[in-house]
């Protein structure tokens, strides 16, 4: 896979690039700020751009704005945004608005396999939403009757669905068979009144949109 990295901390940028190259991806450009990011995306039309939220010159949300711009101008390029902390409701909005977008805390990189999995997922038009964000979305349950009606296991599965995981991924993480996961998913979608659609991507969007609506702060 061809990708670009935008990260102002050089050490981390090189480490990330090394990890991704070790995994067989081609890092075609590495930049340290948002403007050059847009330039290299225009130049290389990569499959994925990994973008730090805070970058020079103001260290506010340049990365996030660049991500929105890339998704708008280059639909073929997916974007995975990395952040030091859960900071933006725009992240949920973006994940919920369509595939090819991911939002993860930086330290998720340390779980290399899960990170590479998320990279693949997002580049393939799927989604990745950080578990920390999902946790915020699922709480507090008492505000929503439908969410309260879920069993603990179903809530767990719902969270992984929101993170963008496939049934297979969920089954692997929870040590369940895919068949059991499918049963849980049907039950959850039924309880929340969402369409029982086979497409994972569209399912994620529906779930995130539902959670965002039920949680007033996102």
């Amino acid at each position: 896979m061809r990708l670009v990295i935008a990260e102002d901390a050089a050490l981390l940028r090189e480490g990330l690039a090394g990890l991704l190259e070790d995994a067989g991806h081609a890092v075609v450009a590495r930049v340290g700020e948002a403007d050059s990011l847009l330039a290299v995306v225009a130049e290389h039309q990569p499959e994925l751009a990994i973008v730090d939220v805070r970058m020079p010159p103001t260290y506010e949300d340049e990365g996030m704005r660049a991500a929105v711009e890339i998704r708008r101008s280059y639909p073929e390029t997916a974007v995975l945004v990395l952040s030091q902390h859960v900071e933006s409701r725009h992240a949920v909005e973006l994940v919920g608005s369509g595939g090819g977008f991911g939002y993860l805390l930086k330290d998720r990189v340390l779980d290399v396999d899960a990170f590479l999995d998320a990279v693949d997922r997002v580049a393939g038009g799927g989604s990745a939403l950080d578990p920390e964000v999902v946790k915020h979305l699922l709480l507090p349950p008492h505000e929503d009757d439908a969410l309260a009606a879920l069993t603990p296991r179903e809530r767990e599965v719902l969270g992984l669905m929101a993170e963008g995981k496939t049934n297979a991924g969920i089954a692997r993480q929870l040590w369940l068979t895919e068949k059991t996961v499918e049963t849980h998913v049907s039950s959850i979608l039924g309880k929340l009144g969402l369409p029982l659609d086979g497409d994972t991507h569209r399912r994620v969007l529906a779930v995130v949109t539902y959670l965002r609506k039920s949680s007033p702060t996102y």
Binding site: L12, L19, Q84, E87, R89, D107, T217
Partner: protein, 662 residues
């Protein structure tokens, strides 16, 4: 011109020589007949002669063609020449003494005709002046030909004109009675002089008017002198020696006022001088009347002139003086300085309104504008600390916006309090301006202090707000540094370890679990740092108050109900509201043993209202140094307020109002 100047100096020298001769006679160096003019009067004569000489010389040197100078120089010389007559003979001295007294009036009256430019009002006035001069000269000529013997004690001195056929003829024929129309003519010159001054006052403006007023003020003494002389003549049969000093002081006074008018020094005080003169003249008149009435009345009742009567009359006058003076001053002000009187009254009425709380002291500027009749007048208060002026609303005025206006400083206890910008014409009405500003001095000082205080309080509030802002900014920076500095490095370190781990040769796979453990430690360190950063300043505040409050509720050990608006307000206000909720929540859990807490934030009338209520034990008070007191300070720094309702056993409710603009 040069010749004129030399002549002026010559006349002045001659006058001075005459004075010296007179003084030498008094000193006994030169012969002097006994019982002539009393010695005590001599200093008055010297002053009466030297003052107009000095002023006349001054004017003559500057404007040799101005008639006023010559009138004064010659007039003074004629008055001064009297002692010289004594050197000729005692008879001639007595004869000129009783014939030339009108000289004392001649030059002052003449000046009233030509003041201040040295010219008559019009050609027609030449006739008036000519007739006047004729009357004076005629009267003195007839008097010189008087063959009557001298009065006691000089009856033994022979009259030098006695036996002269011409003089005898004039004295015995009906022509001798010609002095009566001449005397009336002299009186007429006085009225003509008064008329001339009145016309000039009416026609002139500005400086010239003030100059004329100065002379008019002094010239009022001329008729007074005549009246006194006539009275003395009527009652005593001769001119009482006590009248002389008055006449001589009159000469000096007229000369001095001419000097003031010409040099323009202290020219502007004339209105007040006239005012005071009128007041004291009236007071004197009324007091004399009172004295006379009491003396006569009691004298008739008690009989005879007892010491008691005098004492009571004196007492009555003494008691009446102060209230009478104030009353007369009031009447005179009302009659003669209407504008000043009304202006001062306006200021006093304003003071009363301020005292009653019906007007703000800062509106004194408008009152001054109204009192001075100058709608463009503007009052600016002096701020010594910043050495600048400020208007009544506290706006600083770096430079005086004169805009064609004049400025008058207002002082109190020799310290500048304000400046009034006003129409330049007011400078010529010093009486009005000074009177009103004097009356308003205290009000102006009060208003100034209030403006100053308000500015200082605003500055303190602003600086407190800046300090709090700086505090938030510092927290923000610290949070950034934690996230982007230390945390980032740890992530980077973890990534490198992972890479190392994944590139290890198969033989070294035994190290893998240890590396996993190290990466776990790094992850834990990152989590710790994230938590610390969140404590310094929750990054969730970037997502708004509602998001941050919900996070706060999630981490609380008791159920917390949150209700907050999704709309954003200023970041500093959101932060303040967040810390308020934080502190209140901590108190509820730690001290109040609450089992449920509700946090509510709402926008209301341009303010953010934050209410935190719990079901705890209550009884919370904002003690010094306590968290609640700190909260109150933090809220006050934002210009907000904090209210604690905490009855014992009924929970605590903390209400905070934070202004947040529109």
């Amino acid at each position: 011109m040069r010749a004129l100047r030399v002549a002026a100096v010559a006349i002045a020298s001659a006058t001075t020589a005459c004075v010296v001769i007179g003084l030498l006679e008094v000193a006994g160096v030169l012969p002097r007949p006994p019982d002539d003019i009393p010695d005590a009067i001599i200093p008055f004569v010297a002053i009466a002669v030297l003052t107009p000489t000095a002023v006349g010389l001054l004017i003559a040197l500057r404007r040799p063609r101005n008639l006023i100078a010559w009138l004064m120089l010659v007039g003074a010389l004629l008055v001064a020449s009297e002692p010289v007559d004594l050197l000729v003979s005692q008879g001639w001295a007595l004869q000129t003494g009783r014939a030339t007294w009108p000289m004392l009036y001649a030059w002052p009256i003449a000046i009233t005709y030509v003041f201040p430019n040295g010219q008559l009002l019009s050609r027609r006035w030449r006739w008036v002046a000519g007739a006047g001069a004729t009357c004076f000269l005629g009267f003195m000529t007839v008097a010189m030909l008087d063959t009557e013997p001298f009065d006691t004690p000089y009856e033994s001195v022979p009259n030098p004109v006695a036996g002269n056929p011409a003089a005898e003829w004039v004295s015995t024929s009906k022509l001798g009675l010609v002095w009566i129309p001449l005397w009336l003519g002299i009186l007429a010159t006085l009225f003509a002089g008064a008329l001339a001054m009145r016309l000039r006052l009416r026609r002139s403006t500005g400086i010239e008017r003030l100059q004329t007023m100065w002379l008019a003020w002094a010239a009022a003494l001329i008729p007074l002198g005549l009246v006194l002389c006539a009275a003395s003549w009527t009652f005593f049969g001769f001119v009482e020696v006590l009248v002389f000093p008055f006449l001589l002081v009159m000469q000096a006074t007229i000369a001095i006022s001419v000097g003031v008018a010409v040099t323009r020094y202290r020219l502007y005080t004339i209105e007040r001088l006239v005012n005071r003169t009128v007041v004291y003249a009236l007071v004197t008149f009324v007091l004399l009347g009172t004295y006379a009435a009491v003396t006569v009345g009691l004298g008739v009742a008690v009989g005879g002139g007892s010491a008691w009567v005098t004492a009571l009359a004196t007492l009555a006058v003494a008691v009446a003086f102060r209230p009478l003076r104030a009353r007369v001053q009031d009447v005179v002000d009302r009659r003669f300085s209407r504008a000043r009187y009304d202006g001062v009254r306006r200021v006093r009425a304003f003071e009363q309104e301020v005292r009653d709380g019906r007007r703000a002291p800062e509106t004194i500027g408008e009152v001054l504008a109204a009192a001075l009749g100058d709608p463009r007048a503007e009052l600016l208060f002096w701020l010594p600390a910043s050495e600048t002026y400020a208007d009544s609303s506290g706006e600083l005025v770096p430079s005086l916006p004169l805009d064609g206006r004049a400025s008058s400083e207002i002082e109190r206890d020799d310290a500048r309090t304000a400046v009034l910008l006003h129409a330049p014409e007011l400078l010529e009405r010093r009486d009005l301006l000074d009177g009103v500003l004097d009356a308003a001095a205290l009000s102006v000082e009060i208003a100034r202090l209030r403006v100053e205080l308000r500015l200082q309080l605003a500055e303190v509030a602003a600086s407190r707000e800046r300090i709090v802002e700086a505090g938030y900014e510092e927290r923000r920076r610290l949070e950034r540094d934690l996230h982007d500095g230390a945390q980032q490095r740890l992530v980077s370190l973890g990534v490198h370890i992972r890479r190392l781990q994944r590139t290890l040769p198969r033989s070294a796979s035994i190290l893998s679990p240890a590396l996993d453990q190290i990466v776990d430690e790094v992850g834990a360190a990152i989590a710790d740092l994230r938590q610390i950063a969140a404590g310094v300043r929750p990054a969730r505040l970037d997502d708004g108050l509602a998001a941050a409050l919900r996070d706060l509720a999630r981490s609380a050990p008791v159920p917390v109900e949150v209700e907050a608006p999704g709309e954003r307000v200023a970041a500093s206000v959101e932060a303040a509201a967040y810390y308020v909720a934080c502190e209140a929540l901590t108190n509820a859990v730690k001290h109040a043993a609450a089992t449920r807490v509700a946090v509510r934030a709402a926008r209301e009338n341009g303010s953010l209202l934050v209410t935190v209520s719990d079901d705890g034990v209550g009884g919370a008070v904002a003690r010094r140094g306590s968290g609640l007191a700190g909260l109150r300070d933090r809220v006050a720094a934002h210009g907000g307020s904090l209210e604690i309702v905490s009855p014992h056993g009924e929970g605590t409710r903390i209400e905070v109002t934070l202004p947040c603009g529109s």
